[in-house]
């Protein structure tokens, strides 16, 4: 089997004492695209943050394994170096640090000392990826996410994804706040990543992203768990019928876990 495998087993996560995830099970293999869907407030973003190691989220039970290695014992930077990537819903703005300096640091952090990427090669790669994403070249010299519009931030997350080339990526609502043209551009970038070695978990509550990126597996989250899984046809049915039928089928009245998305 090519690529890496991310296994999430019976994951329970709390934020400020409140349990948000109540036993999530999910396995993503290299070459697979998974979509996690669900209404707001059902724990989707918490899942993404917990896998990456966000400081506010506490894992109280369960396991996260990357190729059998215990991810929960790793620092955030070690998780990234092991092959995980999270395109964030709300990326930080960092003043005074140019986008390109940051990206070079990030790429070099994935390489051995003495094997740093050459400046020429870096610029060439960045230019070509920025072209794919239809980004203005001067974004490279702007400070990291500072003053970027919502759409620019999302493109910048995908630029990082394309430059870093992780084994497993989680995209947290990468489609929110994008108009249809931007959505197409971002999808193009993500589809370019598709190969047998790359696994991807796409979190969204709109089906429309999945018109451009076809998932192999679709999961629905409610009440902090994965309540239903299926193929691309599941996303299609959600698009047509919404989430009510799942709630009825499973006897769920309130799908949220008592927090705002």
């Amino acid at each position: 089997m090519a690529g890496s495998t991310l296994e999430i087993k019976d994951l329970h996560v709390e934020i400020e004492g409140q349990e948000i995830l109540k036993g999530v099970n999910l396995t993503i293999n290299g070459g697979e695209f998974h979509a996690v869907m669900g209404p707001n407030g059902t724990g989707k973003s918490t899942l993404a943050s917990a896998v990456m190691g966000h400081p506010k989220y506490e894992v109280t039970k369960g396991e996260i394994l990357l190729d059998g290695e215990n991810v929960l014992e790793m620092e955030v930077d070690e998780r990234a170096q092991a092959g995980l990537f999270l395109a964030m819903q709300y990326p930080s703005e960092i003043s005074g640090v140019t986008n390109s300096d940051f990206l070079r640091s990030a790429i070099n952090a994935h390489r051995e000392e003495g094997d740093e990427i050459s400046l020429m090669k870096f610029i060439k790669e960045m230019d070509s990826k920025m072209d794919t994403l239809d980004m203005d070249k001067n974004m490279a010299q702007r400070y990291l996410n500072e003053g970027f519009s919502g759409g620019e931030k999302k493109r910048n997350e995908i630029l990082q994804l394309m430059m870093i080339q992780p084994a497993i990526a989680i995209l947290d609502e990468i489609d929110s706040g994008l108009d249809i043209d931007a959505l197409k551009v971002v999808s193009k970038g993500i589809n370019e990543m598709r190969n047998d070695d790359f696994g991807c978990l796409i979190i969204t509550h709109y089906q429309r992203l999945l018109n451009y990126i076809t998932p192999d597996h679709v999961h629905v989250m409610m009440q902090g768990r994965v309540v239903k899984s299926g193929g691309p046809e599941l996303a299609q049915r959600l698009e047509e019928e919404g989430y009510e039928w799942i709630k009825e089928e499973l006897g769920i009245e309130d799908e949220t876990v008592g927090q705002k998305a």
Binding site: M52, G53, H54, P55, E75, V76, D77, R79, A80, Q81, F85, L86, M88, P91, S92, I94, S95, G96, V97, D101, F102, S105, A106, A109, H110, Y143, L144, Q160, I164
Partner: protein, 435 residues
């Protein structure tokens, strides 16, 4: 402990010193009356920092430095300030109290530009200096330190840019306190006549970690109608030097004064940076970055006072505090009555790297006019854990992530410094002080 340390320099010493330097009569008289004032005037009272016990009087006043025959003979730490790939035509290097090296582009000379050490300026352009010296910006009798400065001034430069002259290349001064006891009592006077423009950058450096001395620096920048002055500085006195530095600007109609100050002293420091926006539509941008470490105490005041209509002032102060250092950042935007349509903005931020450090950001707006806009932002806190998380999620180590954030935090001044070598040198100083 009594703080009334009497000055080891008297009337007779000053008279002889002035005569020895062949100074004009007015200068000698200014010195003597300042000496008298210094006995009765109180020390300044910077907000929230008690400087009563600080050393402002124990130092060597007149220490010669050797001539510098060629720039290659300079020690590496001084060469670091020079853009070696470029020929620097406009450069003064002061070593202790002697001008060791000085050069100015012949073309600028022909246009009437003056850039020379203060002693030469007083001898050769005495009348011109007299017109501006402690007249429009800083006054001799403001407090004991300005009086001491006037009485004992022993270095500095005079930069004069005639009407309509635009100087493209930056003008650089390096002040090197080589002798550990030498006191730099520098006076920097920059006069930009109507519609002229100039970029000036200066460096202070010393190596007296143990020996105690004091620096008392007064800078006056006069920007006439339509003139533009960009002023950059990296102060890097060692721990033994107690520093008083007063940088003041006066901007007339449509004039612009930009300050980019890297205040990297290791010892106790009182720093004032005040700009008077006298003329209508005048503009000032005052940026300071500072780092405190060890047990040093520092007080930084940035003040822009608006008199002219439609004047625009922006203050930025960013400080990084570690160990047991403490620093007060006072940002003051003052709009006088009549300065309608003016705008006063300020931002003071302090990043704390240790729990024993102390940092205060005090943004103050004093507004005596209705038809104006103003705003301020202030914060004191640790490195944002969410920013760290974001950088680390890309594989960057915690150490490197913090480093990026801190350099980014101090970038507003680094970016604005005109000479590449000085930028690089400030980045190195930041690196050395933070880690």
């Amino acid at each position: 402990m009594t703080v009334e340390v009497s000055l080891p320099y008297d009337k007779e010493y000053i008279t002889q010193f002035s005569q020895g330097m062949q100074e004009p009569e007015w200068m000698k008289n200014l010195r003597l009356s300042a000496l008298e004032k210094s006995e009765s005037l109180p020390l300044p009272k910077p907000d929230k920092t008690n400087i009563q016990g600080w050393n402002f009087t124990d130092f060597s006043h007149n220490v010669e430095g050797d001539k510098i025959e060629s720039l290659d003979s300079l020690p590496a730490e001084i060469q670091d300030f020079l853009d070696k790939e470029k020929d620097q035509h406009n450069l003064v290097i002061q070593r202790n109290h002697t001008v060791a090296y000085g050069t100015i582009d012949q073309k600028l000379k022909d246009q009437g530009v003056i850039f020379t050490d203060m002693a030469t300026a007083l001898r050769e352009h005495g009348d011109l200096v007299e017109k501006y010296y402690m007249n429009d910006a800083v006054h001799m009798d403001e407090h004991r330190l300005t009086a001491l400065h006037a009485a004992l001034m022993n270095g500095g430069v005079f930069l004069y840019v005639p009407k309509n002259v635009q100087i493209e290349e930056p003008i650089q001064a390096i002040f090197w306190q080589e002798d550990p006891k030498a006191s730099l009592i520098n006076h920097i006077l920059v006069v930009a006549e109507e519609n002229s423009s100039v970029t000036y950058v200066e460096n202070y450096i010393s190596n007296n970690k143990e020996e105690q001395t004091s620096a008392n620096i007064v800078t006056e920048v006069i920007a006439k109608d339509g003139a533009k002055v960009s002023f950059g500085a990296v102060d890097n006195f060692e721990a033994g030097t107690t520093v008083y530095t007063n940088r003041r600007g006066v901007a007339y109609r449509d004039a612009v004064i930009e300050w980019a100050l890297g205040q990297m002293n290791e010892g106790n420091t009182v720093s004032e940076n005040i700009t008077h926006l006298i003329g209508d539509n005048s503009h000032s941008n005052a940026k300071t970055v500072a780092i405190g470490r060890g047990s040093q105490k520092q007080n930084f005041t940035a003040n822009i006072t608006h008199f002219g209509k439609g004047s625009d002032g922006y203050i930025l102060q960013h400080g990084v505090m570690k160990d047991k250092a403490s620093a007060i950042f006072n940002g003051i935007g003052k709009i006088e009555h009549g300065a309608s349509k003016s705008n006063a903005e300020q931002e003071s931020r302090v990043l704390m790297l240790s729990k024993d450090a102390r940092g205060d950001a005090n943004p103050i707006l004093l507004i005596d006019e209705d038809d104006v806009t103003a705003g301020h932002a202030a914060s004191v806190g640790r490195v944002d854990p969410i920013q760290l998380y974001y950088l680390m999620s890309r594989g960057i180590s915690k150490f490197e992530a913090e480093r990026l954030i801190i350099h980014g935090f101090l970038a507003p001044v680094v970016k604005q410094l005109p000479v590449e070598a000085v930028k690089r040198q400030l980045t190195q100083v930041i690196e050395r002080k933070v880690y």
